[in-house]
Symmetry: D3
Subunit: 242 residues, 6 copies
């Protein structure tokens, strides 16, 4: 499909090696380390018996996400957001995306007046942290829901279907699946795609960093994303049920 050189001789349409480790830490109701190549994100799901003000008294619950990056998860050290006293626009954008993506597959009424908070913390970054976070957070949420079901607090799962995400890009006219950091830097377009088991889109965010992208290129990228997300959805099920 391409003559672009990728590390480890990865084909243009291949994911990096994916590893999903459940119960990575011991306190959270769901705790998943997801690794895509060198990208490593810890996703924990915490259940609390309270909801934010806008849901109080509604009978329905809430699902939200927070995102962070350890200061030296990256090539250069980044200032700690807690020390600077505020989260960057990038951080807020990402955590809003993760939260929306997870809420899209939840029936909040079935959750009851509870909040599930998905904390996605990047231990090591090499591109694709936000999409890895979505894929991993769904597994952590599933584990937390299983625990609510097992303890009898819920009698029916509020999770309607699975959700996973991947990045795609255009590099010198070639569509690439699952960009590493170096590839992301060189790409003309970077697109994050979030899809459900049913194969429909939850979120689509494409940005032309260099040359603008055409409709034909968009189609090529979406085809790649569809392929990658199907593989990730299968891996989630395998990790949970095998």
């Amino acid at each position: 499909m391409s003559t672009i050189f990728r590390s480890n001789q990865r084909p243009a349409d291949a994911l990096r090696p994916v590893r999903i480790t459940r119960n990575y830490t011991m306190h959270a109701e769901g705790s998943v380390l997801i690794e895509l190549g060198n990208t490593r994100v810890l996703c924990t799901a915490s259940v609390e018996d309270k909801v934010p003000p806008h849901q109080r008294g509604s009978g329905a619950g809430w699902v939200t996400a927070e995102y962070g990056m350890l200061p030296r998860a990256t090539h250069q050290r980044n200032d700690r957001e807690a020390a600077r006293g505020k989260q960057s626009g990038r951080t807020q954008e990402i955590q809003r995306l993760i939260g929306r993506s997870l809420r899209a597959v939840f029936d909040l009424r079935l959750l009851g007046e509870r909040t599930i908070t998905l904390d996605c913390d990047v231990i090591q970054a090499d591109g694709g942290t936000r999409t890895a976070a979505i894929t991993g957070a769904w597994v952590a949420a599933q584990d937390a829901v299983h625990q609510l079901l097992a303890s009898g607090k819920l009698s029916q799962s509020p999770i309607r279907e699975a959700v996973a995400a991947v990045s795609v890009g255009m590099l010198q006219g070639t569509p690439l699946l699952d960009l590493e950091y170096e590839e992301d830097q060189r790409c003309d377009t970077d697109m994050n795609v979030v899809m459900t088991t049913a194969g429909a889109f939850i979120e689509l965010q494409g940005t032309a960093e260099g040359a603008a992208f055409t409709r034909a290129q968009l189609d090529q990228m979406l085809t790649l994303a569809d392929k990658g997300i199907r593989e990730l959805l299968a891996l989630q099920q395998k990790e949970l049920y095998e």
Copy 2:
């Protein structure tokens, strides 16, 4: 194309009435009021002879955007962000989008070590404020560049082409162009599309608020967006050069 009822008997594939008023205020190098139906955004372009730290000494300039909403631009009063002491995640997301969209059509080296700041302030909101801001900010930027050319500070325009944006959505299976606030609230999907004169994408952001959207629905929405943006690009030229 549709049996959805829209205010003022607007067809599904029609823009609201658009009005672009240049020189709306007197101090800024570019000052444009853009109105789409009841949505009104003031876009000013300010030129300063300095660049942020990451561009210093590079010989290249910078283009950035800030976005704000007057507290009572909306149905219910929103807290003033200056009083709360921070900009919301939504605000940051929007101003990053506007900034990226404008930078995409600028040759920053031709701008020289200058910054153009595009302040987009919503006077009245009725849906589509971020896309209106992009369309209006481009006209304000163009006016500011004309002034730099007229004064001899620049000999060649750093603006490569025009950029405009529009929102589209899916409501009960029907694709709609240019959503009003009420429509946006009822839509299953809300998508913001940013395109250039050449007809290529700069940004694409689609979010399923209700049901996920299929690839076929995506295609329908993009076709509508393409139509709307072409009309907006024509209006920009008309307002500038006729």
Copy 3:
């Protein structure tokens, strides 16, 4: 009265052309654009059925104001206060002044446990923004109260009388009414005067930026202010009732 040169051959004791536009935006209960020459301030009145903690359970309401300036309302762009994360001392001083001035003509018990928030946002600045804000905010408050009366939520107006404000100054020994920005910069004294229909003072704030001012000069300035405010009070009535 003077040989000071003012723009547009304005006499020392004349106001700039004043324009008051009601219903300038559509969502607020009161929405007034007030223009004094090139100074343009949008004043909206928002009614909410709640009061701040210090009034809860008192049966009485509250009237408060917030003030802001669009970043490019001025000659040079000012940093956006929302982006800096705090309101300047100047902003807080001004919004406290507007709030006190409006509360002075309200019977808060007649308002009931409601809050009227007056948002005064400067679209374009050319001196006298705080006094224009007071004059305009009173009209917006009046419109909001009319709406409460019309809807039957109030049976008696809580507004006891009108209030308006103007700036005066001493320039090279000559008292001037209604200072433009350039005049304000050159004046030795800048005084803001807030008066009611009954001709009494609500607020008086005089500051010697250059030479201190004598009691005789104070008297001259107050005479001018009295003249200007009477004209503004008449314009408010005309705009509301003719």
Copy 4:
């Protein structure tokens, strides 16, 4: 002049007992404790060989003030501003007033590129803290300047004349000089007056808390303020030179 009952049988036109203690603390270049009845404010003057950005390279210096209140200076404990993370609007208004008042009697060019910071901290509050701060800060500034002259860093004093301040008010139609906290709470009008040795005004800030005040009442209050300030100016000289 009045039948208003004041504590300690104080006449309506009398100051409370005033005490000015120089060298109250040992590190500052000027350190003055000023007491008006139970109000006690520590005013220190700190000299630093640097100026804020807007004065750099101008050859001229800067004079500025900061104001604070110990948490239990008042009847009820107030939250510590450092713990809340911001200064209130009241604090900022007051420190801006003190700074302007002191700058008005300084020739900043004669000061050279130095900053004098006047820290006014209220140890105990019983009304009139801002005016006491101005009167005390001037003595602290004078001591700091004397030290600069003595050390040969300055050859000529940059202080042109003295400045002092007092509060006056209208209580049930009677003008009162130098309000205690309880009086201030009951007054219809509260006015702060800042005057120089020459008998001219630097600042005049009158606020009608209850009934608006007439021009005749203003005249009565200014006459009282004039009397009080003359006494304070004499006390400053006595404390410095006797």
Copy 5:
């Protein structure tokens, strides 16, 4: 015991002159100025009929402390924490230490659902401000409790015993009691010791600024601290009951 030169020919094992002044200000339930040589700290105890969330409904009270330093309490002016918008790590460390030390001698259940806040504000600093604050705050707390007992709000004192604190250090191999600022700067080790009437430790905080300290040196410092604290405990009793 030593040939180290200390100001005023103070022996290595001697405290500086100590002065405890009760009722230093008039509003607080307890108000103590404590002076150790040139160090002066105002400690006020404020009683409020509410507790922080973590104690609500427990029937028990709370004791907490806040610490501040006037900007010119020190040789060089320090930025005002309220102006900078946050308390330094040092300030927080100190106020947490004072709070823990006082809580250690309180039976919070006997206090009932009340909070005693100990505000420790440094008027003048010359070393040992945090330990002076603890010693003084205990006297202020005692006065506040006496007032609660006298008014019948409490029938039994919640204070179990007294607490006092002192600093010790190692300077060129010699242990020193109660360090002045200059000594503190030159010491290899600086240790703060908090002890109760019973002679047991509440807090022990030793830091090697220069050379690390041995166990033998630790013993020498603790012996000195024990001596100093016994003297301070005696002074507290004398001031309260003689």
Copy 6:
């Protein structure tokens, strides 16, 4: 030595199992995961060619630390400090302790004008996170220095000796080494001890949470701490050089 029941039948004077993993992440100059039982802290050392203002031009470098805890490192989820907009007093206290402990074994002049930042992030907490952070951070710093030596940027190591730390406590009269979270909660005293290879103290911080502690108990705790730290110092060397 004791009849206190500890998990896994751990003797009172035994450390939990310790594991030190170097090169845990790939970007940092030093990256160490330290585990003490269930406590897991990631310590990275980042080298930057700049120093904070107070060291600029001195020729000497700086060593500093930051500390954080992932929101769900603990039993209950803690609010993310970046989201709250400030670091807690506890966080600041801990990072100041880590920074001082590491600086104590550095010769900052030999480091040159560089900063080593030690980021200590708690992945999972079960007591003793701050002392584990010190022990692990020293290994990370050592790795970073080795890299500076290997690359020729330094010719001599600026690290004078090793440093390690451990917590000890008194539980019902029994001294315990290396407290787990549950033990820490039940202890009367909690003490953190930082020692160097030479067996001397860098920091000693003891707090009586319940009953105060006597000098004899202090001695018992220090003997335990000495034993534990010697074991940790040996483990550091083994991990680095075997």
